[in-house]
């Protein structure tokens, strides 16, 4: 007779080690970064690509210097500490969230905040409360809204959407005049429009994300639930406020797609929401986390001052991670009941947001002369754009 012996579930699955996971993640982020390098080099010139490389190099060097000093103070072996702290992933994500014309100094300070305050003071890799890259980006939001170099790009779609259309192009003409600025649906999907360095390449990010999901590096639930919830909420907004069809595509289909394809939600969904350290460990908790983050994102987009809300939604939900964890820390049946109640609450919240947004914002119906208006908003939104 043979005994079937199973080790505990986390050992049973073919999980990769942390080193392998981080290696895959680095490769994935590198691919997206290369896409962006190619795009900026081709459409704006070598200067822009060079600036991207300088930004990344500055961020990486700052990260390593900060970690080396920390290791020195704590009397840990420096090389060992740096290779096990994976600071470069934070640096990569941070740089990819910044617009290309940001000053090097701003990136350096943001990296210091991300690494030291976001990570090291909490005890280093694995102990941080907030997503470190998001902390760094929030510092840029709070401090360096004017720190730009003389490289200019045209206005970013989220900025245009927020300022000219209040995120609600209600008719085919309005949509058309918006799409003119981004190179049509194809441009939106491929990410060939200005924005943060690495956030716009939707197709590339999704492909890389699927690769990471297949390799078991990131949890498929997070992007799926997050993007799905955004789709559902904006679907209801489109229906409630009567968004008109665009050609043969009905309003309830193209409007959610517009929300998903513009801004940083796809990047955030695949690379920031999936940070295993700052999200709940329970699958039900993760679903709830992602759903709530989606509700907050849409709320900030529609009603907030900022054109984009992905980053702040993640930071806000990071705060609630221990609470979600504790709420779902129960025997299985009870946990299931609680998870159902929590998901129902999130659903009601989402529908409430959809109803609120559609009842307070009137869709912009006619075509807008985007060219003139964007000239004014370029400088304002460039920095605030894309979180």
């Amino acid at each position: 007779m043979k005994f079937a012996f199973h080790v505990s579930p986390n050992e049973q699955q073919k999980h990769a080690s942390t080193q392998q996971i981080m290696r895959d993640l680095t490769i994935a982020l590198g691919v997206v970064f290369l896409c962006s390098l190619a795009y900026y080099a081709i459409s704006y010139g070598v200067n822009y690509a060079l600036q991207e490389i300088i930004l990344l190099a500055a961020s990486l060097v700052t990260t390593f210097v900060c970690e080396a000093i920390f290791a020195k103070v704590k009397k840990i072996d420096i090389k060992e500490f740096i290779t096990h702290s994976f600071g470069w992933v934070t640096a990569l994500i941070l740089v990819m969230m910044c617009p290309v014309n940001i000053s090097v100094y701003a990136v350096i300070i943001a990296t210091v905040f991300a690494i030291v305050i976001g990570r090291l003071v909490f005890g280093g890799f694995g102990n941080n409360i907030y997503n470190p890259a998001a902390v760094g980006r929030a510092v840029i939001f709070a401090s360096f809204s004017g720190a730009v170099t003389n490289l200019t790009t045209s206005a970013t779609p989220t900025g245009v959407l927020a300022s000219s259309f209040r995120w609600m192009p209600g008719s085919a003409e309005a949509l058309e005049s918006f799409l003119d600025t981004t190179g049509g649906w194809f441009g939106l999907a491929m990410g060939t429009y200005p924005g943060a360095i690495g956030e716009t390449f939707s197709i590339a990010i999704i492909l890389v994300g699927i690769f990471l999901i297949v390799r078991n590096v990131i949890d498929w639930r997070m992007p799926a639930v997050y993007l799905g919830t955004i789709f559902i909420i904006t679907f209801f907004i489109a229906i409630f406020s009567g968004i008109q069809p665009y050609g043969v595509i009905p309003g309830w289909l193209w409007y959610p797609m517009l929300h998903l394809l513009t801004g940083g939600v796809i990047f955030g969904a695949f690379f920031m929401l999936t940070d295993p350290v700052t999200i709940p460990t329970v699958p039900a908790g993760r679903v709830f986390f992602a759903a709530c983050a989606a509700v907050i994102t849409v709320l900030i987009r529609m009603k907030g001052n900022l054109p984009e809300g992905c980053l702040y939604s993640i930071l806000i939900m990071n705060t609630f991670t221990p609470m979600i964890e504790q709420a779902l820390d129960a025997p299985q049946f009870e946990q299931k009941k609680k998870a159902i109640i929590m998901s129902a609450c999130a659903l009601v919240l989402g529908l409430g947001v959809a109803f609120y947004a559609s009842s307070t914002i009137r869709p912009v119906k006619g075509a807008r002369n985007v060219g003139e208006e964007t000239a004014m908003v370029i400088t304002q939104t460039e920095q605030e754009d894309l979180a």
Binding site: S103, Y105, I117, A142, S143, G146
Partner: protein, 219 residues
């Protein structure tokens, strides 16, 4: 010797802000500029010394059951006087400190010292303790406002509180594009406070370790 120690404790080891975490509300709010910090620190020193002296003088005739209301009445009277003085002679300081001058009444440092020290010790000791604690508070707000003003506005400005047109010092050290405006917001206040408090704790534990090593050697 003992008196000197009482005085010195308030400055570094039992610093009211970074060591005992007292009076944080006003500390976080008013440390946006050096001017505010100096004004607030001076007001707190005056109130603290006077309240310590009065409370220690009447400590034997105050019934134990109603001591807290008595202390509060004394402190409130002193704060009202100080506020009127500031309003009369330094109106600019009054507007920039705003509600935080009357709030000295409920500042934990003052009631805390009254309860913990002045009600048990003599008049001279209490006055020295008040001076030490007050200077500790001044030192703390000066350190915080120095860091915050320097990083957020790039320079340091000192004006005569009694005549705002007289500028004593106007330094501009950091060029505009290198300033971190984050530090003028409440977030910056909390961060500065956390780092300075951590630094003091680290210094204290370092000193304690050294002292322990010394006593071991002596044995």
């Amino acid at each position: 010797m003992n008196r000197m120690e009482n005085f010195k404790n308030g400055l570094i080891k039992d610093n009211p802000v970074f060591g005992l975490y007292l009076g944080l509300c006003s500390t976080l709010a008013i440390t946006t500029s050096l001017n505010n910090a100096i004004g607030m620190g001076t007001a707190v020193i005056v109130v603290l010394i006077l309240s310590n002296v009065i409370i220690s003088a009447i400590r034997k005739i105050v019934p134990d059951d109603i001591r807290i209301p008595v202390y509060i009445v004394i402190i409130a009277t002193l704060v009202s006087i100080i506020q009127m003085v500031i309003e009369a002679f330094a109106p600019a300081l009054n507007t920039s400190l705003g509600v935080f001058i009357p709030l000295i009444v409920v500042n934990c440092i003052i009631l805390g010292r009254a309860e913990a020290f002045a009600s048990k010790n003599g008049v001279l000791d209490s006055a020295l303790d008040g001076l030490g604690m007050g200077l500790g508070y001044l030192l703390a707000v000066l350190a915080m406002s120095f860091i915050r003003e320097l990083l957020s506005s790039g320079g340091l400005v000192l004006t005569n509180p009694f005549n705002t047109e007289q500028v004593w010092m106007n330094l501009s050290l950091i060029p505009e594009e290198f300033r971190i405006s984050l530090f003028s917001s409440p977030l910056g206040a909390f961060m500065t406070f956390a780092f300075l408090a951590a630094a003091l704790t680290a210094y204290k534990s370092h000193a304690a370790k050294k002292a322990a090593a010394k006593t071991k050697e002596a044995k």
